[in-house]
Amino acid sequence: MDVVVSQIFTGLSTGSIMLLAATGLVLTFGQMGVINMAHGEFIMAGSYTAYVVQQATASAGASLLISLVLGFLVGGAMGVIIEITLLRHLYHRPLDTLLVTFGVGLVLQQVARDVFGAPAVNVRTPSWLSGSVEVLGAVVPRTRLFILVLALVCLAALAAALQYTALGRRTRAVMQSRDLAESSGISSRRVDLTTFFIGSGLAGVAGVALTLIGSTSSTVGQSYLINAFLVVVAGGLGQLRGALIAAFVLGLLQSFLEYSTTASVAQVLVFVVIVVFLQFRPQGLFSLKTRSLV
């Protein structure tokens, strides 16, 4: 019984990490349709932001909180720069976008290696996140619980912003029909920029959180990127609740498969499950149904 509970928490934790990495992608890939292969490097930028802030801050706890805010801003700023300089000119050209952002990702990784060195660096965990708590007989590290809560908070905040704010309405309008939004008086460029800022900023937040469970290197973001894309595709493009369910289902699946096989075999089996799932449901878990074309 303890093993099952333990695996469930491991799965939820893995799922929450996938969810955190994917939340920004739900916006930039799911809603805007931009295949941003540099999303992982925005995560990396968040991780290194946490590292830099900690060098300048005595308290690990304060450093974490400052890093979460700064990580959002750094990730967002990088997203804005790339949107203005590159992506804006490549909308409706997905293959070009993919190649360009892949190249940008490689450049950013090299920049990180040049600035911070090739060896991985570590960020200290605040004392209030050290140790574990026992939940239903299973030992769960506090850092993992923190990431679980942070992922849910980020997702809920994004969902609320999209649903209830003027910016959220404009974002949904532009994502549905750029022409109709423009001819209704909405500046789609401004909305694209803001949406990309938020999506990239959330990647930065994910990067900060990931420093709590592992060391930071130039490839830290890349290792989470594929899973993040899988979560968005399996959940249904642009669907936050789909991403939520997909992330935790994939996390749990991986956790239980890992327990009965190995980590590598589990990852392969998860991919197989997603391939089979998408054969039967290519639109993902959720898709929107309307009578009209738009």
């Binding site: 309008a173 549905q176 109709l180 939004a181 423009e182 209704s184 008086g185 909405i186 929107l288 309307t290």
Partner: protein, 230 residues
């Protein structure tokens, strides 16, 4: 006043409209007619900035707006109701109105006025626009355009595929809107009877060129039918 001078436009390298010129006064209704594929929708999309013009000029109140992006043309006073009752299908009826009203100091009042004009929308405020009937979606599209407080309303076949009772309501609305004398209307319409009844002036577009124009008064119908070779 909206003025198109020798406008050429199309899709990519394919030119659809070859030098169309027309004028819409600030307080009148101008109807643009023509067969399917004549280039009417293409021309309207160019007026809104959704298509680039390759030659000619589009001026509004004497200022060249040819280079402005669509949202900037809306800010100048142009409003567009596209063909096919397009709305933001995944937004609710209310959100469709709010998204246009957001950022306007009198946005709330504008939404209320739009709903007063189209009370049928009150019953479906929380329904996703994609689930509305064609007539409801068309009323929503016009309501959305009116919230931008236009001085020039551009309507692309507003009665297409709509049941007769809603067509009559849309016709009443268009006539009522222009009664105050501060709104010009450029209307693309297939129903010749409705078009000539509503309009002051007509233009016929054939193969991307204006082939005929004149006053929409008595006798116009025969001229239009002759111009369209019906």
């Amino acid at each position: 006043m909206l003025e198109l001078r020798e406008v050429h436009t199309g899709y990519g390298r394919s030119t659809v409209v070859h030098g169309a010129s027309l004028t819409v006064p600030e307080d009148g209704i101008v109807v643009l007619m023509g067969h399917n594929g004549a280039g009417k929708t293409t021309l309207l999309r160019a007026v809104m900035g959704l298509l680039r013009i390759t030659a000619g000029a589009i001026t509004f109140d004497g200022q060249d707006i040819s280079a402005l992006r669509p949202h900037a043309r809306v800010a100048r006073g142009l409003a567009y109701v596209p063909q096919g009752q397009h709305s933001f299908g995944q937004l609710t009826t209310m959100e469709n109105l709010q998204v246009v009203a957001d950022g306007r100091s009198n946005g709330r009042r504008l939404v209320e006025e739009a709903l007063e004009r189209f009370p049928a929308l009150l019953e479906v405020l929380d329904r996703r626009a994609g689930l509305l009937s064609g007539g409801q979606r068309q009323q929503l599209a016009i309501a959305r355009a009116l919230i931008t407080e236009p001085r020039m309303l551009i309507l692309d076949e507003p009665t297409e595929g709509i049941q007769p009772s809603v067509v009559a309501e849309i016709e009443r609305t268009i006539l009522d809107l222009t009664r105050r004398g501060d709104l010009g209307v450029l209307l693309v319409e297939q129903h010749i009877g409705f078009a000539l009844r509503a309009a002051d002036t007509y233009y016929v577009l054939e193969s991307g060129r204006i082939s005929s124009s004149g006053s929409a008064g008595s006798g116009a119908e025969a001229d239009v039918l002759a111009a369209m070779a019906i």
